[in-house]
């Protein structure tokens, strides 16, 4: 591969060219969020039938499951960015990881919160120390650890690298915690959506969940891009290109 090509490829990984690009993408992702969210909510509340066992309480599933999925997915994406930053020493990667962490933590929190609110009517307890729940809690702690570590380090470059190591070590941990379900008797529902087996859920419910999950996904991208723009400005405050930006000169 020629040297030029590498440089070209890296161009998008530079904060300078990513900043305006992200600015252009944000409205689109907000639009997509709305596109998925509105029919998603419609199905959740007005199309999906009442569950014969759980009554209306089950409608929490339409945010519980997307939040739980996103919390795990965002962690993987965050760790990937962090690892890229460590390996290739690109500035943008660390910023992306830092921008994703709070969103991931919020998703993890939401899955815990909605799960707890679901558990009270279904199981009669806000919380049980079941493997699935516990592993979601640990995931939340991993996010908090990542955020706290980055907050505690002043130098941004150092914070990125240290955070990257932590994220990578944590990623080894996630599947271990997740699969330890097998060694534990569990009250929580197992995965009912899988690629190999036919879905056991009603199709309308499945559609609602998928739409909501897509909405959450688009939302996460939009927020992360918004945040990464702020982070880029904070870190590159004293570079020429920032000083030349229209919104700064104005």
């Amino acid at each position: 591969m020629s040297n030029n090509k590498i440089i070209h490829w890296f161009k998008f990984a530079s904060p300078q060219s990513f900043y305006p690009l992200a600015g252009k993408m944000i409205p689109w992702f907000w639009g997509l969020t709305a596109v998925f969210l509105i029919p998603g909510l419609w199905i959740s509340f007005f199309v999906a039938p009442t569950d014969f066992q759980q009554g209306e309480g089950y409608r929490i599933i339409f945010i519980h499951v997307p939040a739980a999925w996103m919390s795990m997915f965002i962690y993987l994406v965050m760790a990937t960015w962090a690892g890229l930053g460590l390996a290739l020493n690109t500035r943008l990667s660390g910023m992306m990881a830092q921008a994703l962490a709070p969103t991931g933590a919020i998703m993890a929190f939401l899955s815990l919160w909605t799960g707890a609110l679901w558990g009270k009517p279904m199981w009669g307890a806000w919380w049980v120390w079941d493997a699935r729940l516990t592993s979601a809690l640990i995931l939340f702690f991993l996010y908090i650890g990542f955020i706290a570590l980055q907050a505690a380090i002043d130098d941004a470059r150092r914070a990125d690298k240290a955070g990257a190591i932590l994220a990578l070590v944590g990623v080894v941990n996630v599947p271990i915690i997740y699969f330890s379900v097998k060694w534990w008797n569990t009250l929580h529902q197992g995965a009912s959506v899988s690629l190999t087996k036919a879905p056991t859920m009603a199709t309308t419910m499945l559609w609602g969940m998928l739409l909501m999950a897509l909405a959450f996904w688009m939302y996460s991208i939009a927020v992360a891009l918004t945040r990464v723009r702020a982070i880029i400005l904070e870190r590159e405050a004293h570079t020429e290109w920032v000083k030349e930006l229209d919104e700064v000169k104005a």
């Binding site: 509340f45 007005f46 039938p49 009442t50 009554g55 209306e56 309480g57 409608r59 929490i60 945010i63 519980h64 939040a67 709070p102 969103t103 919020i106 929190f109 939401l110 919160w113 909605t114 609110l117 679901w118 009270k120 009517p121 939302y219 939009a222 927020v223 918004t226 945040r227 723009r229 702020a230 400005l233 904070e234 405050a237 920032v242 000083k243 919104e247 700064v248 000169k249 104005a250």
Partner: protein, 60 residues
């Protein structure tokens, strides 16, 4: 359509507290988070603008 009246809708078959507690917190967080994120950007922009103004005054 599952609901006869708005009251029925808000009662959620007796699970109103739990369902709206979940959706409510979810909505609040998802509204507050983007606001905070863009606030963070406008904060840094404001200080950058002040600085560039100060630079201009210096050079005059």
């Amino acid at each position: 359509m599952n609901w006869g009246s708005p009251a029925e809708f808000f009662a959620m078959g007796g699970y109103g507290l739990y369902v709206w507690g979940s959706f409510g917190v979810c909505a609040v967080l998802m509204i507050v988070e983007p606001i905070l994120a863009s606030r963070r950007r406008s904060d840094i922009l404001r200080s950058l603008r002040r600085e560039s103004l100060a630079d201009k005054l210096d050079s005059q």
